[in-house]
Symmetry: C2
Subunit: 333 residues, 2 copies
DNA sequence: TTGTAAGCGTTATCAT
DNA sequence: ATGATAACGCTTACAA
C-alpha cells in the first residue's frame, strides 16, 4: 500500500497524489477529491520514512528531561507534548538522569535521529563549568535548542525562564515584613535556577539589613522525609529559625511535617514558603504558601518561540516570565 | 555526508560500509577497522530515514498515556522510557486525554508513524463498551500492543496488570478486621482497574457479612480538595463512616484533610487507605497506609514481554502482579 | 493542471 | 570478502 497503488487506482500519476498529500494548490478540485476518496477507500497512509528521506525532517521534536516522574517536569512534558501536537509535531522523549555523560549521550542520540529541534526541560542541563555546556552550543549550529527554565547564551539557542531570583526575593521580603528574622533556605541542587533562587533570598536579607548566614542555607535531597529530618536535626542542635523558604514544595512539605513533629505552630511561630505550587502544596494542613513558577506559560512560550524560529520570524533569544506568589496558610501575610 | 562519502574515502563500496554499519560478519577485520576509522574521521552518522525506509522499522515504541502529569503515569512513563532505551528503543510519547475520540486519533497517528509497538499506559484505554475497543484489536494485527494495567483480549495484545481486585479485597479485609464497619469507597473512574478495585471492596464486605451500600460507593474527581469536600458534605448530611478506602492516594489525602477539618482522630476513630503508594502518601500527618501497585515491576514486565514478542519467543498474553499493602499511620493494623 | 524521472541514503540481493 | 545495483516510497524539478 503505497503512493503507486493510489495513483494507479485513481488513474493519475504519483506526482499528483503527492501534491494532494501536501496540499499543493496546483491540483484541480476534481482530481483532488478523487484522489482523496481513493486514499480513503484504500486506507492509505504515507510512509513517514520515505517522506523524511525526501524532506530531511519528520515533524518531531526531541524533549529531554532529567526525570519525567518529578511533578514539575511531568507537567512540563505534558504541556510541551500537547502544545507541540497542536502544531502537528510529535515529541520524542528522553529521560536523561542527571549525569553529564548520559545527558550528552542522549543529546547526541536525539540529534542523530534528525529531530527538528531539541527542548531541554528543566534547569538541570546547564552545568556550572562552561566547558561542559559546549556540546549544546555546538549542536545548536545544526538545530534549534530550546531551554525551558535554563539559560545558556549561544546562536540558535532560545531560553524561556521563570524569574526565580525575583520570586524568592519577593517571597523572602514578605516573610521578613511579616516578622520573620531567621529564615532558613532549603534547596536541592546547584542548577542555574537554583543559583538564582538562592541569590534572591540572599539579596532580600541584605536589603533588609539582615545577616546572611551560611549555616542557614542548607542543601537537602528532594524528598519530604529528608527535609523533615534535616530540620529536626537542626532543631535538636539548637539552631533557631522562624521560617523556611524552600526551592521545592517537597521540601516545604517536609517543613510542615517537622513543625508537626516538634509541635511548632504554623504560621504563628513558624512560616513556610514552597516553590512550584504543585499538588503537594495542598496536601498538607495547613496548606502551603508557594511560589508558582508557571510551567504552563513557560512551556507555551517556548513552543511559540520555536514555531517562530521555524517560520523564520525573529524571536527573542531569552524570555523571562514573572512568578506568582500563591498565598495559603503557612505564612502570616 | 553519507554512505557514499565514507565508501569513497575508505576506498570500498557502499555495500561494505553498510555491512560494517550493521555488524555483518562478512567483512575482513582490516576493512572493518579501516571503515570505522573513516566514519570516525568524517563524523558520519547514518540517516535514520533511509534506514527506516529500507528496514521498515525505526527502533521506536509509541507510548500512550492519558495524562503524563498524573504521578502514577509519570512514573510509568519514566520506567518505560528508561527500560526501552536499555534495549536500544526510543519512545515517542502521546498524551491523549481521556476522550475516546482523541485516544483513537493518536492511536492512528502513532500507528502511521510506523512505531514498532504500542504501549498503552494506564487503565484508561479500555472502554466499557466492547465495540469501542475494536480499533485496538484491529491495529494489533499490524503491530504488538501492550497494555500496562489494562486488559483486553485479542491477538498480538499483551497485558501486564496489577491484581487490583485482590489488593482492595485484602485492604478492606484488614480494615474490617481492625474494627471498621462502615467503610466508604472512593473512586475516580470506571476503568477496567477501577471496576476490579471496586469489586474487591464489595467482595470483602460480603465475605464478612457486611452490607454493601450503594451510597458508600462514591465517585470523586481525582483531586485532593474535591475528596475532602465530598467527605465534609457526607459528614454534614449525617452519613456515618469509620473508614475510607480510596482508589488513589490523592483522594486519601483529601480524607486526611477532612478528618483534620472535623477533628476526627486518625486512626482511632477513622481509618484511611490510599492507592499507589505515591509521594502523597508521605506528605500527610499521619502518613497514609497505601496499596503499592508496583508500577516499576509492571513496566519492566511489559518491556520483557515486548522484547520476547520481538524475538519470536512465546510470551504470556497476560501477566498478573500482586500489589503490596504498605502500612503507615492511617490504619490501626 | 498533470506526468516523467531523478534524487534522498540506506538495505539486500545478486554476482564475482 | 567484496562490489554493483535494485529496491524502499516519497518529494520535487522539469517537461508537457
Amino acid at each position: 500500500m503505497n503512493i503507486y497503488d493510489v495513483s494507479k487506482k485513481a488513474g493519475v500519476s504519483i506526482a499528483t497524489v503527492s501534491r494532494v498529500l501536501n496540499g499543493s494548490p496546483n491540483v484541480s478540485e476534481r482530481t483532488r477529491t478523487l484522489v482523496l476518496q481513493v486514499m480513503d477507500e484504500l486506507g492509505y497512509t504515507p510512509n513517514v520514512f520515505a517522506r523524511g528521506l525526501g524532506l530531511g525532517t519528520i515533524q518531531t521534536i526531541g524533549i529531554m528531561c532529567s526525570d519525567s516522574s518529578d511533578p514539575y517536569l511531568a507537567h512540563a512534558i505534558y504541556y510541551l507534548e500537547q502544545g507541540l501536537r497542536g502544531y502537528g509535531y510529535d515529541s520524542i522523549l528522553c529521560c536523561t538522569g542527571s549525569s553529564l555523560k548520559t545527558k550528552q549521550k542522549y543529546f547526541e542520540l536525539l540529534h542523530s535521529k534528525k529531530v527538528d529541534a531539541l527542548i531541554l526541560a528543566g534547569s538541570k542541563f546547564i552545568e556550572m563549568n562552561p566547558d561542559d555546556n559546549h556540546y549544546i552550543i555546538e549542536a545548536a549550529k545544526e538545530l534549534p535548542v530550546l531551554l525551558v527554565n535554563g539559560y545558556l547564551e549561544g546562536d540558535n539557542i532560545y531560553c524561556t525562564l521563570c524569574d526565580d531570583r525575583s520570586a524568592t526575593h519577593h517571597a523572602a521580603g514578605k516573610l521578613i515584613a511579616s516578622g520573620c528574622r531567621s529564615i532558613l533556605y532549603l534547596y536541592t541542587s546547584h542548577s542555574y535556577s537554583g543559583k538564582n533562587k538562592l541569590s534572591g533570598y540572599q539579596d532580600a536579607l541584605k536589603g533588609h539589613g539582615l545577616p546572611v548566614r551560611e549555616d542557614y542555607i542548607c542543601q537537602c535531597p528532594k524528598n519530604v522525609l529528608a527535609a523533615r529530618d534535616l530540620l529536626m536535626q537542626l532543631h535538636q542542635k539548637g539552631v533557631f529559625f522562624d521560617a523556611v523558604l524552600a526551592s521545592d514544595d517537597t521540601l516545604a512539605v517536609g517543613a510542615v511535617k517537622y513543625a508537626h513533629a516538634v509541635k511548632r505552630s504554623i504560621p504563628d511561630d513558624f512560616s513556610i514558603i514552597g516553590y512550584n505550587n504543585s499538588v503537594y502544596a495542598v496536601c498538607t494542613d495547613p496548606e502551603l504558601t508557594s511560589i508558582d513558577s508557571r510551567v504552563e506559560a513557560l512551556c507555551s512560550t517556548a513552543i511559540t518561540t520555536l514555531m517562530g524560529v521555524f517560520n523564520g520570524v525573529s524571536v527573542p533569544s531569552r524570555t523571562n516570565i514573572a512568578a506568582d506568589l500563591i498565598k495559603r496558610a503557612t505564612t502570616k501575610f
